[in-house]
């Protein structure tokens, strides 16, 4: 018998603009001691389906129109709010994407674990403390005794997620719902958390409902996969069947979108467009003696026409390096030579000349566009500023940019919020191309996007790079993306370059242990088998 069986679930959102059916006739089940994964892009209804079960969707506007969710003897959808709260606390536990917002920043980790133990289990303080330390140990936190009196901000994202999992386990739930628990984490940490969830599920015999947008992430751990699109379940089954013989076109699209393979590499020796020598970007935080060495004595060349990948985890300094080259972050030592000119000392109009020749594409397309400027204004700004065109032929230039990045010309008067993430990233790419640059820094340009959109944007970047003979520094934490797009790759760790070489060399025979661990963490090993 299934631990949780959802039948014909229907959820809709009633707004002034009409009723939107978010979940249509959805069926799935979580078996005892198994991991069921729900896969879908944002807006597919995967989170809504799970939140609706626990009465966690705001109502109004949310409304459950029908269906049943059998959990043991009970139908979750028929319970009162009080009964649901009882179940949420004890039999079903949840972990979320962003652990920071779920922890109280003013209480120590220990306090936050002891409190529920005392309330739910009636333990004394001393007993609760012992139990809390055991839990921390179980979720793989080293030296749990010390951790006990630390505050959440002293932890990394991965550690916080472990604490969240420990809290979820307090009442020994039978079902754990994990909503994108690794999306905000680095790839090596992600691999650890995934392993932890799989281990816990085995040792504790609990069922897990794992929500994710990333097929590769769940490939290794799921026993059963449910693919959702636009509120409907389009395919469900065993992972190996889904991966090897996908029936529904949407599933095939998801699979195809997982970046794989390498580009054809041009090996002809080329001249260096940018030479970075002993670059240092140190920050001096107020009240601390030791500087933060975000980028520490880094030297490398970027050859004209190549796509240079730069990988590392968050905090490795890879983004700062890109921003230093763009002169957005301070340069505290060393030099950056662009086509023979040292950029580090340039000011004013001298710098402006070079700004035209190098542009940046940012990670978050929702933050990198001015919300009060239409597409037209956004694209017109760089064109007019650098005199690429005159007011007279501005319209035709903008039209050409729109065509280049694959946006319909009729969108020209719209504001950024009217676009999807992928479309917004296209606008941002258009803005970067407007000055007709030779060099582009792309800082995690696809990390905020859904997988299928990711693939489209990567292809667009590659095509545009070829067409405009761009040189590109492509910063990413995602090894698979780098392999897909880059010619050469640099690996950064704690502000230093630890490895560099042609993509094929680095991926096939990584020399440094750090690179090896990065490669080992790429999710979806099951997919390539």
């Amino acid at each position: 018998m299934s631990l949780l069986r959802v039948e014909n679930l229907e959820v809709s959102f009633v707004t002034r603009n009409g009723t939107h059916q978010a979940v249509k006739q959805v069926n799935f089940a979580v078996e005892e001691k198994q991991i069921t994964a729900i896969i879908g892009e944002s807006g597919s209804g995967k989170s809504v389906s799970c939140y609706a079960l626990l009465g966690l969707i705001p109502s109004p506007p949310g409304r459950i129109d029908g269906g049943a969710a059998h959990f043991g003897e009970r139908d979750l959808l028929k319970l009162t709010e009080d009964e649901l709260r009882e179940i949420r606390g004890s039999e079903i536990a949840m972990i979320f994407q962003d652990p920071m917002t779920c922890l109280n920043p003013y209480l120590t980790i220990g306090e936050q674990l002891i409190e529920p133990l005392r309330i739910h289990k009636g333990m004394s303080r001393a007993e609760a403390k012992i139990r809390a330390v055991e839990l921390l140990d179980e979720v793989g936190i080293r030296s749990p005794e010390q951790t006990f009196s630390s505050f959440p901000h002293e932890f990394s994202g991965g550690m916080r997620q472990r604490v969240m999992i420990a809290m979820a386990l307090i009442n020994e739930p039978r079902l754990l719902i994990a909503d994108e628990p690794t999306t905000a984490l680095d790839v090596t940490i992600q691999a650890q958390i995934l392993r932890l969830i799989a281990d816990l599920q085995k040792h504790r015999d609990i069922g897990v409902l794992f929500i994710s947008h990333d097929l590769a992430v769940v490939a290794d751990i799921a026993d059963h996969i449910v693919v959702m699109e636009k509120g409907e379940v389009v395919e469900a089954g065993q992972p190996n069947i889904i991966f090897n013989n996908p029936q529904h076109p949407y599933t095939r699209k998801l699979l195809a979108a997982i970046p794989s393979g390498e580009r054809e590499q041009q090996s002809a020796a080329r001249e260096a467009l940018i030479k970075v020598r002993d670059l240092r970007t140190w920050f001096y935080p107020v009240g601390q003696d030791a500087p933060v060495k975000a980028v520490d004595d880094v030297s490398f060349d970027i050859e004209r026409g190549e796509v240079l990948g730069l990988v590392g985890e968050s905090g490795s300094g890879k983004s700062t390096l890109g921003r230093s080259i763009m002169r957005l972050a301070p340069i505290t030592g060393g030099s950056i030579t662009f086509d023979g000119t040292d950029l580090s000392g340039l000011q004013g109009s001298n710098l402006k000349q070079f700004r035209r020749r190098m542009q940046m594409i940012f990670q978050d397309p929702f933050a990198s566009l001015n919300p009060r400027m239409t597409v037209y204004d956004t694209l017109a700004e760089p064109l007019l500023l650098h005199g690429v065109c005159t007011r007279g032929n501005l319209d035709s230039h903008i039209a050409r940019l729109m065509d280049d990045v694959g946006l319909a010309r009729s969108f020209i008067r719209k504001y950024p919020h009217e676009f999807s993430g992928g479309q917004r990233q296209r606008i941002a790419i258009g803005r970067a191309l407007a000055t007709q640059p030779e060099f582009i820094v792309a800082d995690e340009p696809v990390s905020a996007l859904d997988v299928t959109i990711q693939a489209q944007i990567l292809d667009l970047l590659l095509a545009l790079g070829k067409e405009h003979q761009l040189t590109m520094l492509f910063v990413s934490h995602d090894m698979a993306v780098i392999r897909h797009i880059a010619d050469r790759v640099l690996v950064m760790y704690q502000g230093k370059l630890v490895e560099s070489g042609l993509v094929k060399q680095v991926f096939d025979a990584p020399e440094q242990p750090y690179t090896q661990s990065l490669l080992a963490s790429i999710p979806g090993a099951a997919l390539t088998l």
Partner: protein, 299 residues
């Protein structure tokens, strides 16, 4: 080539949905908000009345009718008369000139100084920010009354100075609001994108930062105008602001309050004039904030 360009741009404009600038869009949205429109119309009416007062006031401002004394509203005196037999409607109309002028001019002064000061401090940051904001703190710490009294003593009492004095105090909060807005905005990637495009700091503040900080500023402005008008009433009451025979709504209300048990109309009508203005301002302010938010729904 040129024909190519013109067909291109022609196509672009044809296909584009009816284009409109931020301000045109805002205007269209504002017009759909009935309360805001009503507020705006009322305000406009008051302003026109205030401007035309010398020509259309029913009685001479200084004309007294001591025989009549305080009389309730009647056909001759629509809003009644005060203890000296002066027409209340006429007094309210003249008082409105002063109150509205103080409200708008002092707020404009506050807006100009506060927004500029806050935007520069927030955008430049570092030491400049520290110095600029400490100056704001020092001015904050000065007791407001002493500040005004000092100004009045040094420069003599006049209405223009009153505008300046009130404005000089009100801009402090404006500067703080603006600074915190700008500080969070300058971290945004679109500001970094503007830097890497090569825009000058002035252009970035003007095109990217200030428009995005407008929402709270507008709301605060519509709150400032009423508070300035009340401040003027308070100062006048203390004998530091407007002096009889000149008058303002605040002054009329304070006199009316003294005699409200015998002659309630002396309090009610100036009070109504003030509250109507304040309500109108609030509705208009809310409407403006929503209208300027491009993320607001278009339907």
């Amino acid at each position: 080539m040129s024909s190519q360009v013109s067909t291109d741009s022609q196509g672009l404009l044809d296909e584009a949905e009816q284009g409109a600038s931020l301000w045109q869009d805002a205007w269209i949205r504002l017009r759909r908000n009935r309360m805001a429109v009503a507020g705006g119309v009322t305000l406009l009416l008051f302003i026109i009345l205030a401007i035309l007062t010398p020509w259309i006031a029913p009685y001479n401002y200084e004309a007294q009718d001591l025989d009549l004394g305080a009389s309730a509203p009647s056909a001759a005196h629509w809003l009644g008369t005060d203890v000296f037999g002066r027409d209340v409607l006429t007094q309210i109309m003249y008082g409105g000139r002063v109150s509205l002028a103080v409200g708008f001019i002092a707020t404009a002064v506050a807006l100009l100084i506060g927004v500029t000061w806050g935007a520069v401090a927030g955008y430049v940051g570092g030491r400049v920010d520290a110095v600029m904001m400490r100056m704001v703190d020092i001015l904050y710490a000065l007791p407001f009354m002493i500040f005004i009294v000092l100004l009045m003593v040094v420069f003599g009492r006049n209405v223009l100075l009153l505008f300046l004095a009130i404005g000089a105090v009100e801009w402090l909060t404006m500067a703080r609001i603006m600074r915190s807005q700008v500080q969070s905005l300058r971290q945004q990637e679109f500001v970094e994108a503007a830097i890497s495009l090569g825009l000058s700091p002035t252009a970035i503040i003007r095109k990217h930062v200030v428009p995005n900080a407008l929402g709270p500023i507008i709301v605060y402005t519509t709150l400032t105008i009423p508070s300035v008008m009340l401040l003027e009433a308070f100062l006048s009451f203390l004998g530091l602001g407007i002096q009889p025979p000149q008058t303002s709504w605040g002054l009329l209300i304070s006199y009316g309050a003294e005699t409200m048990e015998e002659y309630p109309w002396l309090l009610i009508f100036p009070g109504l004039a003030l509250t109507t203005t304040l309500f109108s301002l609030n509705f208009l302010g809310d409407g403006l904030r929503d209208a300027l938010d491009v993320r607001g729904s278009k339907d």
